[in-house]
């Protein structure tokens, strides 16, 4: 181990600190730009303030688009089976929370297929009308309420509604489920955690979600319907039914992955459309003709999933840097999506940008976002309602979440003409 430690000295950029992830995205981008230009694969001390004391002596930070894509695609060299976030989590907790997100093929493939059939273009088209209706209802309510917190009144509502609707979660469990899903990523944030330590806070949120998932599974075993949970309790992998633990983990993964991502894209896009009125005008001139291209830019701009982590399975090289088996590699999507080697004028919000090979849904490979079409459907309907029905909507300064994982907006005031 000493040899390893001597071989690399730590990079001076303070990327693996909570303080860094408490800064604004623009401030972080200055550091990422420096790394992209000068030290694209850099070595850092492990993140402080983590859930568990870290056993690694350092972590690699990968910031260029091309390298993020190589790591994401090569799952044989860069494994997901030993965790996917920048910090160590207790093993049982990771297993309970991440399901197939934290697995490699072939097991990953078998489990993912059980839910992926609910996310195909045909299936998403089937729920298109329901999502549209729900988007309309959310904007009806917004118009009733008047000036308010945009996150609570708008951004929060559609993602969880959609995923709980697909899974068949009964109304009376939804409030509790919403709160717990929030808690799963907000644990690093002192305000959100309200005095509890990070581990306790996240563990409570996790247990709540698991319980809802298992309760729902039991209900569907007894009384099958046509929802996703019914498919899950009836599915077989290698001739065996899924256990409660496996179903619970599915439930947690879908609740977490389908929640903050679309929600924060909504908030950050609303802000961008207010900050850049020319782009808003351009979109309104031909909404149906431009929205598909625009949504790619919404997601690139927001990049709500900032980082993922892989573990190196064998000695290898990445962009000239030698990596050893067991090393941790963090891919920074937030940086790759501003890489000037790939994007012209990367700091411009350009709704007509094309091509737009952003990595906001992942850099490709087996873990590429399962919900990407679902997310796009939600964004398309919601922004149509917001931009055409809410007169002169404007948003104020957002308060951000401190997290190395999710780029989150906790609150953001909005005003409009009634």
């Amino acid at each position: 181990m000493t040899v390893h430690a001597e071989a690399h000295s730590f990079d001076p950029a303070p990327v693996a600190t909570l303080e860094f992830w408490g800064r604004t995205a623009e401030e972080r981008e200055t550091t990422f730009k420096e790394l992209r230009d000068e030290r694209p694969v850099s070595w850092h001390p492990p993140l402080e303030g983590n859930l568990l004391p870290l056993e690694k002596d350092g972590i690699w930070i990968v910031v260029r688009h091309a390298d993020v894509v190589s790591v994401s695609k090569d799952w044989e060299t860069f494994s997901s089976a030993q965790g996917v976030t920048m910090e160590e989590m207790p093993e049982d907790m990771a297993a309970a929370a991440s399901s197939f997100l934290g697995m490699d093929p072939p097991r990953h493939t078998r489990l993912r297929r059980l839910v992926s059939s609910a996310f195909t273009p045909k299936q998403v088209k089937k729920i298109d009308d329901q999502i549209n209706n729900q988007a309309r209802r959310i904007v009806d309510d917004l118009l009733d309420v008047g000036d308010c917190d945009f996150v609570a009144q708008v951004s929060k509502r559609l993602p969880m509604w959609t995923i709980f609707e697909m899974l068949g979660v009964p109304q009376e469990l939804r409030e509790e489920g919403y709160r717990a899903a929030d808690g799963m990523v907000a644990y690093l944030d002192e305000d959100a955690a309200a005095g509890q330590d990070a581990l306790t806070f996240q563990m409570n949120a996790l247990m709540t979600l698991l319980n809802i998932g298992v309760e729902l599974a039991e209900e569907r075993r007894a009384r099958p319907t046509s929802d996703l949970m019914t498919n899950l309790v009836q599915a077989e992998v290698d001739g065996e039914r899924l256990t409660d633990e496996e179903i619970g983990a599915f439930f947690v993964l879908l609740s977490v992955a389908g929640n903050d991502t679309t929600r924060n894209t909504t908030s950050l896009t609303m802000k961008a459309l207010c900050d850049f009125p020319d782009q808003r005008k351009l979109l309104l001139e031909d909404y149906d003709g431009r929205i598909t291209t625009a949504i790619e830019e919404f997601v690139r701009w927001a990049t709500p999933v900032q980082t993922f982590r892989r573990t190196v399975t064998r000695d290898t090289e990445l962009n000239g840097q030698k990596l050893h088996g067991g090393d941790w590699v963090v891919t920074v999507f937030a940086s790759a999506n501003r890489d000037e080697r790939v994007f012209d004028d990367p700091h411009a919000f350009n709704i007509l940008r094309s091509p737009n090979p952003h990595v906001a849904f992942g850099g490709g490979g087996p873990h590429y976002c399962l919900g990407n079409m679902l997310a796009k459907t939600q964004l398309r309907h919601l922004f149509k309602e917001l931009l055409f029905r809410v007169k002169d909507i404007e948003v104020g300064a957002p308060t951000y979440l401190t997290s190395h994982f999710i780029r989150g907006v906790r609150a953001m005031p909005c005003t409009f003409t009634r």
Partner: protein, 63 residues
């Protein structure tokens, strides 16, 4: 041109279907069905986009 699918890589997400619906369809079991594996001149553009859009690089075009 002919479409070739690497079944070991395909995860059945259907991005190809959303880009070239005449050639690809993911069925109710979540498996990719190639509706037509031959590609004519005027379809090439859409199919090419599907090949490039596939996140797992499961699609290839062969002569």
């Amino acid at each position: 041109m002919r479409i070739v699918v690497d079944r070991n890589k395909c995860t059945g997400l259907g991005i190809c279907e959303s880009l070239a619906p005449d050639h690809f369809e993911v069925n109710d079991e979540g498996a990719l069905v190639v509706l037509r594996d031959s590609v004519s001149e005027d379809e090439l553009d859409a199919v090419q986009q599907a090949v490039e859009g596939c996140p797992t690089e499961a699609l290839r075009l062969e002569n």
